[in-house]
């Protein structure tokens, strides 16, 4: 946000009086009476709305009749509900139920909404009748309200109405059923909740978000008894059901679910599905799963392998690092890059660059990636140690900048001289010699260790001779 706008907003907010909340601490009944007097007077709409706003905080049963008188008023119905909705007294529910028969149009829609917010179970019959209203907005509101009540009695008319629902009300009825199922599940009525989810799943031409929600609900409502349902959807030919099932697993911890994901991965040859499964498995950070995932994924197409490589990094599976090393030399540059990046985030990655058993090229690849990322002195020293054991001109290039870093100079000088000596002993000495002259001269000039300087000068002489 630009600084000037910040200033304007701050000034506006700081200077705003009266501040919200400073009116709520006057003494209860007297204040309510005064506010009701405003409602009954010829005060302006603004004043009456202000009174209602305050009654939302301080209103009591005593305020209900005066507020209820406005529920059918197109101008003040909302203000009345604003005050009534939070008052925790059954008198409010009675007033709202009465208004269901009296209000019309948008005011009625609003009243229905407030009934739903308050979850008034006694309003179920009235709301069920309103499901059949020719006013689609009223019918939709009634569907949401019944869902908010969420009892078995509220769910029944929703399910019945869905059978022959019009396009205008279908989604609202589904929404109502979802809410009812969630309430029922929370109350321990798993069988009834499951019946709702199964009904939604079987709904002809149900939109994707309804099917996704139904799959999720049907699996989760049963807890660990939902595993067979999860397995079934992971085996489904329907991509949407499969994807919904995989997505649901993010809400399901535990090894049993991990095992089902692994099983699904073993069963499918479809790359898109493999990718989704691998990503879910990676998020579970289960070493057992990673080893299973790896074997399967590496037999797959390129994009599956790419996702699997990155999954190792996400899972932080340092033990998998050796599996990444061969990929550093992969002919596919994307896979090689993925391997480098994944390796770089694994704990202790740089230490691998000093271990025997890796080829010089593999160790160089690790160092190449690390060179752009090392920050701390100990990391730089580890990098230089690793580079010092790699007889490569590129290693010289990676070491050289550190010769000019005072804190790293001595380690860098020693590493550079070691590499140069190895190269000058090698079969390609003549070819690489000229490229060693300048770096060795730099080391001979800057290094402080006498022995390193002596070796640098000797290697420099040798390089010059070889370069002739």
């Amino acid at each position: 946000m630009p600084a000037r706008l910040v200033l304007v907003v701050t000034v506006l907010l700081a200077g705003a009086v009266p501040l919200v909340g400073q009116t709520v601490r006057d003494d209860g009944r007297e204040r309510v009476v005064k506010l009701l007097d405003v409602l009954k007077s010829s005060a302006s709409r603004e004043e009456k709305q202000a009174a209602c706003r305050e009654l939302a905080i301080v209103g009591t049963k005593e305020a209900v009749p005066a507020l209820a008188a406005f529920l059918a008023d197109p101008d003040l119905s909302h203000a009345a509900r604003y005050a009534l909705e939070p008052i925790p007294d059954p008198a409010v529910d009675e007033a709202l139920r009465k208004a269901l028969d009296e209000a019309k149009g948008r005011a009625l829609v609003g009243v229905i909404g407030s009934v739903g917010v308050r979850s008034d179970a006694k309003a179920v019959d009235r709301l069920a009748r309103l499901l059949e209203s020719p006013d689609h907005e009223v019918a939709r509101a009634a569907a949401t309200a019944l869902g908010g009540i969420g009892s078995v009695e509220a769910a029944q008319p929703l399910a019945a109405a869905l059978v022959a629902a019009s396009a205008e009300t279908r989604l609202a009825l589904c929404e109502g059923l979802f809410r009812a199922a969630e309430s029922l599940a929370a109350a321990g009525h798993r069988v009834q909740a499951l019946a709702i989810y199964d009904g939604l799943l079987k709904l002809a031409d149900a939109p994707s978000q309804v099917r996704t929600g139904a799959v999720r609900g049907a699996i989760l409502v049963l807890g660990k008894d939902g595993l067979p349902s999860l397995r079934r959807h992971l085996r489904s030919d329907d991509d949407l059901l499969f994807t919904a099932a995989v997505r649901t697993t993010y809400e399901m911890p535990g090894h049993a679910v991990t095992a089902l994901l692994v099983e699904a991965l073993q069963r499918t040859d479809a790359p898109d599905r493999q990718v989704l499964l691998i990503q879910s498995l990676a998020s579970r950070k289960d070493p057992w799963a990673l080893s299973k995932l790896w074997t399967r994924a590496m037999a797959g197409p390129r994009r599956v392998r790419s996702v699997a490589i990155r999954a190792v990094a996400e899972a932080g599976a340092a033990a998998m690092a050796p599996a990444l090393f061969p990929l550093l030399d992969d002919s596919d540059p994307d896979l090689a890059q993925a391997a480098r990046e994944s390796l770089a985030v694994l704990p202790g990655y740089l230490a691998w660059a000093t271990r025997p058993g890796l080829s010089a090229e593999q160790r160089l690849a690790i160092c190449r990636t690390a060179a752009g990322m090392v920050q701390k002195p100990e990391e730089k020293r580890l990098l230089l140690t690793a580079l010092g054991g790699i007889p490569s001109s590129e290693a010289i290039g990676l070491i050289l900048p550190y010769v000019n870093e005072p804190e790293m100079r001595e380690e860098a000088a020693a590493a550079l001289v070691s590499v140069a000596e190895s190269l000058l002993r090698g079969q390609n000495a003549k070819q690489v010699a000229s490229g060693l002259v300048t770096p060795l001269a730099e080391v001979a000039r800057l290094a402080g260790n006498a022995e390193v300087v002596r070796r640098a000068k000797a290697a420099l002489e040798q390089a010059k001779n070889q370069a002739k």
Binding site: A3, V6, V9, T10, L12, L13, A14, A16, V17, P18, L19, V20, V24, R25, E46, A50, R53, A56, I57, V58, H78, A79, E85, P86, R106, A107, V109, G110, G113, S114, V117, A141, T144, E175, E182, S208, Q209, V210, T212, G213, R216, G217, Y250, E251, V275, Q279, A282, R302, V307, R310, A311, A313, E314, E341, A344, V345, G372, M373, Q375, K376
Partner: protein, 424 residues
């Protein structure tokens, strides 16, 4: 080119590994095999995007989206004709003729060809529009704040969980390097046991006043009823629709939320990895000090910052502290911590990485960085703090039910009745 192939710093890689695969996970459809002719994105790989209420900040977000090759922008809805026509003209320059402009978003959302919606209306509409979009099967990128009340926060999380849609709040600092780095210091234990996290917020006060009424324009020019949406009615004034609606209680969640949507969110992430909410809220003159069940403090304040830019955050532990802000700079308690720092290139307001994360989530169906669950928690914290400040007394919050313990007045303030025909 796949949008995930940008060069990553180690810190970004580490941060990515700490999240739900956001940075490192490849999308389902890896380009190469699916690139269309001339490098264009194949039709079945595109994400068709619609906009809802795109003004100033939304215009910036739209620009970021338009830079992504997978995006095809197809529709805009706005009750103000000048805005919707402006977005239509802008996007048609890139995508060609055929971007549809709607006054009423309810006509736009049922379109089956729309995958995702960018919502950048005023605060009052964020929850309602996001919920409507999810019910219509869309994924949503919605500017902050995500909600105006505790009840809206719960409804938002419920809806996105229910329908399996992707939600990304415009709290882009969760994807910005210096903020990632500071949070990483907390998560990695480098600050030791955390004692306090500080969120830069603004003065909470708002007004209920109405500005003078002006003649309401024709509906096609500005649909005032739709602009108000779920908020209490008040007469039209051009000031509101020109963007000067902040500071009015009906339209704005208050100063704690204004920046707290970012900074309290960052603090809750850094301090608890989004797992908790404070249970005790003690109002101060212009903010609140909240306390978690383990004693960690979350201090919401508008002053005493080190000048590191807007939306600053500070994390304190037994072994040191770090403070950062939108300038991208960081200050530390010690050289040891300073040595951890790397040069960052993105600054606090850039939404580029955040939008890339959203697009990735659309493909992979994995939760985005600022998904509905985590923002619901951070917003509940802001709302609870604001309620405590309004009432002028400490409050206890049951973090499971998100209800206040033993305080009916406070509980009445958890929600606001919505104007018909709107409901969540």
């Amino acid at each position: 080119m796949p949008y995930e192939r940008s060069k990553l710093t180690r810190r970004q890689l580490l941060a990515g590994a700490a999240k739900a695969g956001a940075v490192l996970a490849a999308p389902v459809f890896v380009p190469g095999a699916v690139l269309g002719k001339d490098g264009a994105v194949a039709a079945n790989e595109r994400v068709t995007l619609a906009g809802l209420g795109i003004g100033g900040r939304g215009g910036y977000d739209l620009g970021c989206f338009m830079e992504e090759p997978v995006i095809q922008f197809v529709a805009i809805a706005d009750p103000q004709k000048s805005r919707r026509e402006g977005v239509k003209a802008r996007t048609e320059k890139k995508y060609g003729p055929g971007v549809t402009a709607y006054r009423d978003f309810r006509e736009m959302l049922p379109r089956q060809d729309i995958d995702a919606v960018l919502i950048a209306t005023g605060d009052r509409w964020h929850t309602m529009a996001s919920i409507c979009a999810a019910k219509a099967g869309k994924d949503v990128y919605c500017e902050k704040p995500s909600t105006m009340t505790i009840a809206e926060s719960l409804a938002l999380a419920d809806t996105y969980r229910r329908y399996g849609r992707i939600y990304q709040a415009g709290t882009q600092r969760r994807s910005i390097s210096n903020f990632l780095f500071a949070a990483d210091l907390c998560h990695s234990g480098k600050l030791g046991k955390l004692t306090a996290v500080h969120a830069n917020t603004l003065h909470p006060g708002v007004t209920h006043d109405w500005v003078p009424a002006e003649l309401e324009p024709p509906k096609e020019e500005c649909d005032w009823d739709l602009w108000l949406g779920p908020c209490p009615w008040r007469p039209y004034n051009s000031q509101y629709v020109a963007g000067r609606w902040r500071g009015f209680f009906d339209f704005h969640g208050g100063g704690i939320l204004e920046w707290g949507a970012h900074t309290v969110d960052l603090c809750n992430w850094a301090g608890t990895n989004d797992q908790k909410m404070p249970i005790h809220y003690e109002p101060t003159a212009s903010g609140c000090i909240a306390t978690y069940d383990d004693g960690l403090k979350l201090v919401m304040r508008d002053d005493g910052w080190m000048g590191l830019g807007t939306c600053s955050a500070r994390y304190e532990g037994e072994d040191g502290w770090v403070e950062t802000g939108d300038s991208g700079r960081l200050e530390f308690s010690s050289g040891r911590l300073r040595a951890e720092q790397k040069q960052f290139t993105e600054v606090g307001t850039s939404a580029v990485s955040h939008i890339k994360n959203f697009l990735e989530s659309i493909k992979t169906r994995r939760p985005a960085h600022s998904n509905a669950e985590v923002v619901a928690r951070s917003h509940i914290i802001c709302h609870a703090a604001y309620i405590a400040w309004q009432l002028g007394r400490p409050l206890q919050l049951d973090p499971v039910k998100a209800e206040f313990v033993g305080d009916e007045e406070a509980n009445r303030m958890r929600s606001r009745a919505l104007r018909d025909p709107w409901r969540i």
